[in-house]
Amino acid sequence: MQQLAVEREYPEHSRKFRKKAALLSALAMGLGQIYNKQYTKGILLLAFYAYGIFTAITSLPHALWALATLGETETHLKKVGRLYKQVMGDHSIFLMIEGLITVFIMLVLIWMYIASIKDAYRTGKLREEGIQPNTFKQTLSFVAAYRFPHIVLAIPLLGVVFFTVMPIIFMILVAFTDFTRDTMPPAHLINWEGLQAFKELLRNSSWSHTFYSVTIWTFVWAFFATVTGYFGGFAAALLVQQKGIRFRAFWRTAFILPFAIPMFVSTLILRNIFNGQFGPVNQYLGMLGISKAPWLSDPLWAKITLILANFWLTFPVSMLMIIGILSTIPKDMYEAADIDGASGFQKTRLITFPMVMFSMAPLIIMQFVGNINNFNIVYLLTNGKPLNGDFQFAGHTDILITWLFKLSMEQGKYNYASVIGIFIFIVLSAFAIWNVRRTKAFKEEEAS
């Protein structure tokens, strides 16, 4: 029946428009549009098509060669007359980036190509139904009215693609090469090595020992950093907001101080405060007759110091958020609890805590993820120290991200660093996607 209805509406002989338009567009982008009498649009697309073909012919072979081989001629000395002259060879890294950019542009052009075929087909169908195709002006106003989010998102997304996505792809590619300081272009060529770096890092005992130990500490650190910051903030919020406390604004401002001071300043200050020899903390301990603590020089103490400093830095944010949530809890819940004779502790445990947890849960997970990656505090406070002789270029307090930094920026082992980067990325994405999918901002849209 369905089939019949279609047949009746579009008899076979009048279905030529859409087919022909789509075919013409498949032949060359824009032809179908011109056939549909959308001349300006067609000519514009045709121009893009010409550009695309031009790029494909001129750069694609080179780009594919570059990506496949990463360069073939090494920089070498060549005898010119009686002198040796340096001849620059291929620069593997530039070749890789240029290749990536070309492939990106080609993908965009292919996407446009498919879209233009679809568009020609759709316009052809409209013509069969006797509807005039949009003029160029109409097309523009249609785009402005109904494609607004796409236009608005185009600029930020372009930036993200260029400065985030492409570098990430580049980094992933590096993990499969032998890119280290010793093979630094342009003096040397880089080669594809497959899974060599992964194998080295995960199987070679001295490297894998470092990798597993640092991973465990990263998670332990992230757990304690998140929990202390959150409960510290909770306690501070309850303390400030409880009934009968005066000068609330003053206390709140005082507690925000650690958050308000730029982090690089406060962390550098804390590093000096906990200085084992000259720092004031040990000085005061000395005055009280307590022996000095090796705040930053003993592995365990350094870890504790790190968590303590992080607590100082992060509890104000949690406090601010929890104060905000506390003000949204309906008063009558507490009044009802008072009538039932609940103690203050019971009220906190049974009303306040669950209400705050409900709102904060997704944020706590995001903070945990952020702490796995908390480069700044570790780098600025301990710089991974104290050193560990058993580790490959990592200290006792190094987390994955600082180890990665040291491997790439200080040791020049870019391929190993990239492997760690991929590992961090997988762990974080898993957490983030799982978390994001569960938050209200996503969920409430299922209904709408």
Binding site: L239, I256, A260, P262, L320, G324, V436, A441
Partner: protein
């Protein structure tokens, strides 16, 4: 009975005040200590007295005489303000597009952006460095601003959550009255979003103000350096010999941002809770 309850309350309150005072000291101590150190005579980190006996202003003048501190300060302000303006506009637009419009692939795009936002920037620094090199932008402030602003929209979720709380009926009513997308955004949505705008601006401003890893990589010559890089290099080079000068630098760097944060407290709480409430 009543006196018992009163005594209990008094006990609870006095205990709370003691806790509050201890916490205040804990929070304010590092700032006060650096402030004291910056006025102390001598150069050393070590001082045998808690409260210094003699004061000097010379460390502050040293900053400007021996170090190009004024230049660093100007650079930092220039970079931070430019990144703040660009980054905030991009972030607000991204959040708005995701909050108000429904289009194909929207949810996937949001997930992708969120995951990318978790990706530590400097992991891809080598690639960015090469890209900037190709564009001839190394050792320029433009490069830093572009990279900071381009990264800002990854943190669109707060903006989106905030825009979600603005009643849809308002936007629809304006649309029925014939207002275009841009006028709706600028005339209706933005004026209702002051806490969000303040929050986003503060975050992008401080982000650019305090970042030093990327700035350190890109900005090579001394006259291009930012505060964070300059101060970091200062204690990196001559750790204990110039400590009090470093302290003075810290004070000058921290005071404006700190004051800004304290003044903007109300907006911070609102901005943060809008995000917290909606995740």
């Amino acid at each position: 009975m009543i006196t018992g309850k009163k005594a209990k309350t008094a006990f609870r309150l006095s205990f709370s005040y003691i806790a509050l005072v201890i916490l205040t000291i804990f929070c304010a101590y590092p700032a006060l200590w650096v402030l004291m150190s910056s006025f102390r005579t001598g150069d050393a980190l070590f001082s045998d007295k808690i409260i210094p006996t003699s004061y000097t202003f010379s460390h502050y003048t040293t900053l400007f005489d021996k170090h190009p501190f004024g230049v660093w300060y100007g650079n930092t302000m220039k970079i931070s303000i430019a990144s703040m303006i660009l980054g905030t506009i991009l972030t607000l637009l991204t959040g708005y597009a995701f909050s108000v419009f429904r289009f194909a692939g929207r949810k996937n795009l949001m997930s992708i952006l969120l995951v990318l936002g978790l990706f530590p920037g400097f992991m891809s620094m080598i690639a960015i460095y090469i890209l900037l090199n190709q564009m001839n932008l190394l050792n320029t402030h433009t490069a830093v601003v572009i990279v900071y602003a381009a990264g800002a929209p990854l943190y669109f979720l707060f903006a989106k959550s905030y825009f979600d709380t603005i009643p849809k009926s308002l936007v629809e009513a304006a649309r029925i009255d014939g207002a275009g997308h841009m006028p709706i955004f600028f005339r209706i949505v933005l004026p209702l979003s002051t806490p969000l705008i303040v929050f986003t601006s503060l975050m992008t401003f401080t982000g650019a103000f305090t970042d030093f890893i990327f700035a350190k990589l890109v900005l090579r010559s001394p006259e291009k350096k930012t505060l964070a890089v300059g101060l970091f290099d200062m204690i990196g080079d001559r750790f204990s010999t110039e400590f009090t000068t470093f302290a003075a630098g810290c004070v000058l760097a921290a005071v404006p941002v700190t004051i800004l944060f304290i003044l903007m407290q109300r907006f911070l709480v609102e901005g943060l809770t809008a995000g917290a409430d909606k995740g």
